[in-house]
């Protein structure tokens, strides 16, 4: 051991200081080693912050929301308030079912800030009735205005067709968009049922005659006639939304049943449609047309909120 008081005192103090300095250096190296180990640990940690789970939640809600909510639109004798209440309960259920897996991981996943868009289903079920308003004798009349969108439009012509070779004199149903372009389908008797379509504003003509037999049953959303495709009938393919008016011309020159859902609540006239289901007159029923809601996913590290649309087609 170094002698710190005798003749070798100087050398002993030098060794002591040296030992001390080396000890400090060793401690510094140990601390650096600790940093290196921590860095290695940090490098091997997962960087998953839960964004995949958040996107999976959004995707699951988006896929399941409209199929679930649209179920409230069944039945005719339901008020708008009841429809929205039922829709809200169904959204709660969708939110709860999809959130369950995430709740177990301490994450809150919810559907908030819901906005339900009101729609109206217009229906006539009397096959012997002309396409005229419930009250009055108008033959040229607007079924709906400011509709914004139309879906599930079906027209089943049952008879009473006007014999002519000029489609302009026949029964026709038209959809007009906000820019004034018009798509129109004429149904008449030209040695048998004939169906002609004009769009936009009569510059193009599509003919479905010869592609069907028997009374024409037309799906104007899918573009089919008696189950066969007649693409001019699909008005959505030929007319850019948003739409404005659905109207009828010479409604007295055909008998028909029809059903369509429009994205509006206000009928042009209070007397055009009965406000409750009727077997003899056209009537209107309130429906939930579509909805918007916020999907919220909150974990300790991540907050994600996005506005989603739930409806029969893509949001526009």
């Amino acid at each position: 051991m170094a002698d710190l008081s005798g003749d070798d005192a100087g050398r002993g103090q030098l060794l002591l200081v040296t030992g001390f300095a080396i000890a400090v250096a060793i401690v510094a190296l140990v601390l650096l080693l600790n940093t290196a180990i921590y860095t290695e640990n940090l490098a091997t940690r997962s960087v998953d912050t839960g964004e995949s789970d958040a996107l999976a939640y959004r995707d699951a809600v988006e896929r399941s929301l409209w199929p679930t909510v649209s179920g409230v639109n069944g039945g005719d004798d339901v008020t708008r308030t009841e429809r929205v209440r039922n829709a809200s309960a169904r959204v709660d259920r969708v939110a709860e079912l999809n959130a369950r897996r995430h709740l177990l991981e301490g994450t809150a996943a919810t559907i908030t800030n819901r906005t339900y868009h009101d729609g109206t289903r217009l229906t006539q079920t009397d096959a012997n009735r002309t396409v005229t308003p419930a009250v009055g004798s108008n033959v040229d009349w607007p079924m709906a205005t400011n509709v914004d969108d139309v879906r599930a439009a079906e027209l089943n012509v049952t008879g009473g067709l006007y014999s002519t070779t000029n489609p302009a004199e026949a029964f026709s149903l038209a959809v007009r968009n906000d820019t004034g372009d018009e798509w129109r389908v004429h149904v008449y008797d030209d040695s048998g049922a004939a169906v002609d379509v004009t769009y936009p504003n009569g510059t193009t003509t599509g003919v479905c005659s010869g592609q069907f037999s028997g009374p024409p049953v037309m799906n104007l959303s899918a573009g089919t006639i008696n189950g066969s495709t007649c693409s001019p009938l699909a008005f959505e393919e030929h007319l850019m939304p948003p739409y404005d008016t659905v109207s009828v011309r010479y409604g007295n020159r055909s008998t028909a049943t029809y059903e369509m859902t429009v994205n509006t609540t206000v009928p042009p006239s209070d007397t055009d449609f009965e406000n409750s289901p009727s077997a003899t007159a056209p009537y209107q029923v309130p429906v939930v047309y579509s909805m918007h809601a916020d999907v919220v996913y909150e974990s300790a590290e991540l907050t994600y909120r996005a506005r989603i649309y739930a409806g029969p087609e893509a949001d526009e």
Binding site: L29, A36, E51, L55
Partner: protein
């Protein structure tokens, strides 16, 4: 008889020599040790900055993935990074135009550059290392902020 008075000289010479050589060796040892410590510190700091930068870049890209979904209203992602690396604070410079993060230690000459890929615009900014938050701003930009 002449008596030479040099009996104490060898002791003194021996003492001086011993002390001198010891001092020389000890100085060399301390310089070498100090150099090693500094060298290791720089190396460790650089590696740590690289790892921290990679983590931040990964989280930035995660936030971008969320931000680019339709109608996204809020994205807020907390990134827990160390406040000090090898005893030194550091800054993170986010360069949105070149899509790079530049991490620079305060007391050690160590800088690291890490690239990221993002579809959403990333705001250029400089923040101190530590707990950070990546947010989607009303201008639809991703911004890195102190938590």
């Amino acid at each position: 008889m002449t008596r030479t008075d040099d009996r104490g000289v060898s002791t003194a010479v021996n003492y001086v020599l011993t002390l001198g050589i010891t001092t020389l060796l000890v100085s060399g040892l301390l310089l070498a040790t100090g150099g090693v410590v500094d060298d290791r510190r720089e190396s460790t700091t650089r590696t740590s900055l690289e790892v921290v930068g990679q983590r931040l870049a990964a989280n930035l890209m995660s936030a971008d993935r969320l931000a680019e979904t339709a109608d996204t209203r809020t994205v807020s992602l907390t990134v827990d990074l160390p406040t000090r690396i090898a005893g030194s604070g550091y800054t993170v410079r986010v360069n949105g135009s070149s899509s790079t993060l530049v991490l620079e230690a305060d007391t050690v000459a160590a800088t690291r550059r890490v690239s990221f890929v993002a579809s959403t615009t990333v705001a250029s900014t400089t923040v101190r290392g530590g707990e950070l938050r990546i947010v989607l701003t009303p201008a639809n930009e991703l911004a890195v902020r102190a938590a």
